[in-house]
Symmetry: C2
Subunit: 368 residues, 2 copies
């Protein structure tokens, strides 16, 4: 157990945006909400899964929707916990801890803000180990858990409770409601007891995000190469250095979908890379060979070439000079069910999943 103060939040915000692979909401929004809540309610206790009792109710609190909308539709303090309040009422049980459903942009820190307001701890874990665009793309789903009672709320005061038969139905309903709620909404799903949480979640990911944030911020201060330091820490791969020369982004079906074409610079000056995203980066394709260089569920992150600062799919601008990196996903995503749930075919990409390590091996010489 330890406490999160504003300094920790600054680091988590940066690290979560790296792990968020371009999505998970805008990190600035989540940071501001968490800092504001900590200033008002005090530091937030963060516990590990080992500190959970078997019957402790752990509730994920998140924002669902298109990041493009999320940055313009910031949640009020009331909205922040409206879904949780409804859920507690329905279950007749109080949450013992709040957790992030994903590590990414705002969705890693909105739970911290909610925990501050409710005066309960946040759990140092999440259910993706990264960010994914759809609600059923969680380790709970891989382990056969249903989303249970799912609650949603918006800034107008609308609240909603569903008992979908499984994770896919939850996603379908929640997405349709999110669109009606204006493209972004607050949600609680997969509220489970400690005994299940401990087995299913990916532990210590808030701490991992914090460590990444420290590395990136620290390297800048100490004149080190932040990307290199990060790749060392994460056993990651540098895929490409380039400049964004074409970005297409649309809000469709409640997601921010699109692609970005990067023209190589430095060692990559004869190559081009195309990134495909649905809220998160999901596929990095060599534009000449049409071969994937990294593919979901592995993590693809875009960082500022100089500062190492993570760039969201929403925030990438024409002309941005970036480095594209990739990290192996958690082993849970490399199982048949993991690949079925969040692999390339699910998103309609005509490629087989290949671990980023193998792809890097193939390309040799492109290794960081």
């Amino acid at each position: 157990m330890r406490y999160l103060d504003t300094e920790e939040i600054e680091n988590i915000a940066i690290g979560a945006a790296v792990l968020g692979t371009g999505g998970g909401g805008d990190p600035y929004i989540g940071k501001m909400m968490a800092i504001q809540a900590i200033k008002k309610y005090g530091k937030v206790k963060m516990i590990t899964i080992d500190e959970l009792e078997d019957d402790d109710l752990v509730v994920p609190v998140s924002t669902i929707g298109a990041p493009t909308v999320g940055i313009e539709k910031v949640a009020s303090e009331e909205e922040l916990t409206a879904s949780l309040d409804m859920l507690e009422k329905v279950l007749g049980k109080k949450a013992k801890a709040i957790m992030p459903i994903e590590i990414g942009g705002s969705n890693s820190l909105i739970p911290v803000a909610a925990a501050a307001k409710k005066g309960i701890p946040v759990l140092d874990a999440d259910a993706m180990g990264r960010a994914f665009p759809e609600a059923q793309m969680v380790t709970y789903h891989l382990d056969g858990h249903s989303p249970g009672a799912v609650t949603m709320s918006d800034e107008k005061g609308n609240t909603l409770l569903m008992y979908p038969v499984d994770g896919q139905w939850s996603e379908r309903f929640a997405r349709a409601i999110t669109i009606q709620m204006g493209g972004s909404a607050k949600m609680c799903d997969y509220a489970l007891e400690g005994i299940h949480v401990k087995k299913s979640v990916i532990p210590n990911t808030l701490t991992l995000a914090e460590d990444i944030g420290k590395i990136i911020r620290g390297s800048r201060k100490n004149g080190l190469n932040p990307v290199k330091e990060l790749l060392n820490k994460m056993q990651g791969y540098q895929l490409f250095q380039g400049k964004a020369i074409d970005i297409r982004r649309r809000i469709q079906d409640g997601f921010t979908r699109g692609e970005a074409l990067l023209e190589g610079i430095r060692d990559d000056k004869d190559r081009k890379l195309r990134l495909f995203f649905q809220n998160e980066h999901l596929l990095a394709l060599d534009e000449d060979t049409n071969e994937p260089v990294a593919i979901t569920p592995d993590l693809i992150a875009v960082l500022d070439l100089e500062t190492g600062a993570p760039i969201t799919t929403e925030g990438m601008k024409y002309g941005a000079r970036v480095v594209v990196v990739a990290f192996p996903c958690d082993a849970k995503w490399r199982t048949p069910k993991g690949i079925e749930t969040a692999g390339p075919s699910y998103f309609g990409y005509p490629y087989e999943y290949q671990p980023v390590e193998q792809l890097a091996e193939k390309r040799k010489g492109c290794l960081a």
Copy 2:
């Protein structure tokens, strides 16, 4: 208080399809479900609003969606009461009676089937006095009631509870969910206590539907003109006799939308009439003058020219020989709030509302 048996159901089914102005779901489906339930559980007690205690909970049970889908997606017995069961659980109070939210096709009889299964009475009343396509188009909304706790369910076992801030938000969410549920779903909204129900509903509309059914079936047996008998009973107007020469129907936004062009026969052989519908018939336009001959919220019904049998917007076929009739709507719909809620502008028709009596007066000689 009296009991509804299968004979009453046969009559209500026909009359409700007339009052349903082409919508409210397929009358055959509702009839079959009600008859099946009565055979299994026994006759259904029907009470009037005068028999309600002030604190009796009265719950509308309905099908929401496109009639085109509803006829292919018949509810199971379980689905019939799943929304009601969830609502009772949430409110912690049992329904004293079930009521139709609208008088129309299946939606007047599904409540009878649900009442049979639950062993409670059905209320002889509804909240439209006709059928309308959208959830907020109810007298409860006109009287300032919110939909309260709204529940929905589907045949897969998905259930959902909403607290929308008002009727329009309820419609938006419910429609989006209905589309995800496959275009048709079961719903309870505006569950209110007797004290409010008595003041807001349009009373005795199941009995009115039954009377209309008796007239149409009886006229056939006795060699009378069923349309003439019906117009006498309802103080209605015959608008047009003709043959359907063009029907366009599409499922859009969870509704069956479209129009039908009728070529005149008999006295109307030099005229053409165009009907516009969104689940229900909403506008009858003289094709030559482009002037409305009847317009929502007044009731427009299409009947078989020979038998007087009501024809739904979904059931109208090319070449059908029909008579188009109109009846004045309940006075509640002719108030400013009524017109705002379900008048021509709401549906995007570029006409002012004019009562069918005035339009008939204008056209003189066209009166039945």
